[in-house]
Amino acid sequence: MSIAVPDRLRPSQASPRLVFEAGHTSAVRTRLLLQDIIEGARLWRLGLTLGWLDIKLRYRGSLLGPFWLTLSTGAMVAALGVLYSTLFKTNTTEYIPFFALSQVLWVFLSSVILEGCTCFTLSEGVIRSVRMPFFVHSIRSLVRNALVLAHNVLVIVVVYAYYRIWPGWHAALALPGLALWTIDGLAVAMLLGAVCARFRDIPPIIASIIMIAFFVTPVIWQPKQLDKSLNWLLVGNPFFDLLEIVRAPLLGTTAGSHVWIAAIMFSVALCALAWVGFGRARARIAFWM
């Protein structure tokens, strides 16, 4: 017998104690919610590995592996970039880098939201057989999409190199934007994952909303093309603010402070909603599987 794996869950001082109680007060709910996030964060290696294995599995046996993503994004950017720049009568040198960047970032944002919807229901088997913090599933979903983004970034690099664009040190300003995206991405998965576990017809609704958002947000068109009278499209649109905080620095400009303020306000609202929504649903999610 060689079962030498130590029991890490056995601390030397006190025995771990778990209490499950019905009829939660909001204080208890908050404690359990925090516990889920802390325990989940402690299992970050598991979340990371699960996300990475998801990508590996998706492309197992294919020659190029995840670089198929890069290739198909590249082909799409090239084809649509030329088409749209002709339609919009702008020059390709200015338009295509903008479009490549916007498209890649948008694909990330939209799939974080869409896959967030299924982050719990896809792990049904795990949720029903072991006790695991739900935060791990949310990390997994974000990691998976971050890896896809990392592959698509190559397209941006190639386009920038082709047009000899260098955004300068401004580009570093995208980092705080990406940090905010990480927080939002985790929060949106917790919220939508819980809501969609309960109401299975939410994901198609979310998909339609994202589709509309794609067209009303400046992804394929540039903000400056917008008629002044339609400016309200940008002001009330959280997707625009969130996209802009990462996109502007990479285009060599800066996102205005009003954009940042709006993005932060929206993120705070999202986190609050996730806090309340997931906090209320947490104890019931396993029953909804």
Binding site: A4, P16, V19, A22, R45, V130, R131
Partner: protein, 257 residues
Amino acid sequence: MHGDARIEVTGLSVFFPLYHAGSRSLKKTVFAAAAGRLARDRKQRVIVQALRDVSFTVRSGDRLGLIGGNGAGKTTLLRTLAGIYEPVMGRLEITGSLHALLDAQLGMNPDLTGRENILLRGLYSNLSKPEIARLEEDVREFAELGEFMDLPVRIYSAGMVVRLGFGLATAIRPRILIMDEWLMAGDASFIEKARARLEDMVSGAEILVLASHSPTVVKEWCDRVLWLDQGQVRDDGPPERVLERYLGHPLEEPAAA
């Protein structure tokens, strides 16, 4: 075995809401209706009362067997003890690290290789890198996977899947061990090896909770038996008494036939 491991269950009830009217839920509805446990809650949703007002305490050293027919609530109780389902009413307090072995697959992903599944289990238990390497070594040796380590579990033979599941399940030693009976039913070729390993794990645990259909299995492993019937505790006591009562009931039926 001395320690402070303890499970305390007070007035525990677990109800399942039937939200999704899919075929799976329909099946549940039919079974529950047959068992007479359907009810409606305040909002007029159909619910299944899987456990009703269950109370008991398990102390360090106890070997508790759960018996009861299909749909008696054994699996629900195990899942609740494992922290998967939270009480709808009542309270559950667990002191000591707990490990639950509820099904052979235990969240294993059949598309991943044996090695990857072992890695995930190691990470789930928050093991360090060298510990995961040891876990891998230990499980590979036990499950006799050899070259199959790097092939997807999907293509394993049934025996290999059971050995892998068993090897993984028994590699981590908790103070409180919660098991469904699948672990007790192995194929003949590895049963001896499995038995030694299982006994080792069980004797290392302060508390064992084992659910089974089979009175023989319960009698062999447990020194206390809890009889669940339609989600309620029917009897709780020494194996001889409870099993006799439990068996005595169905034994009367053939006489009538």
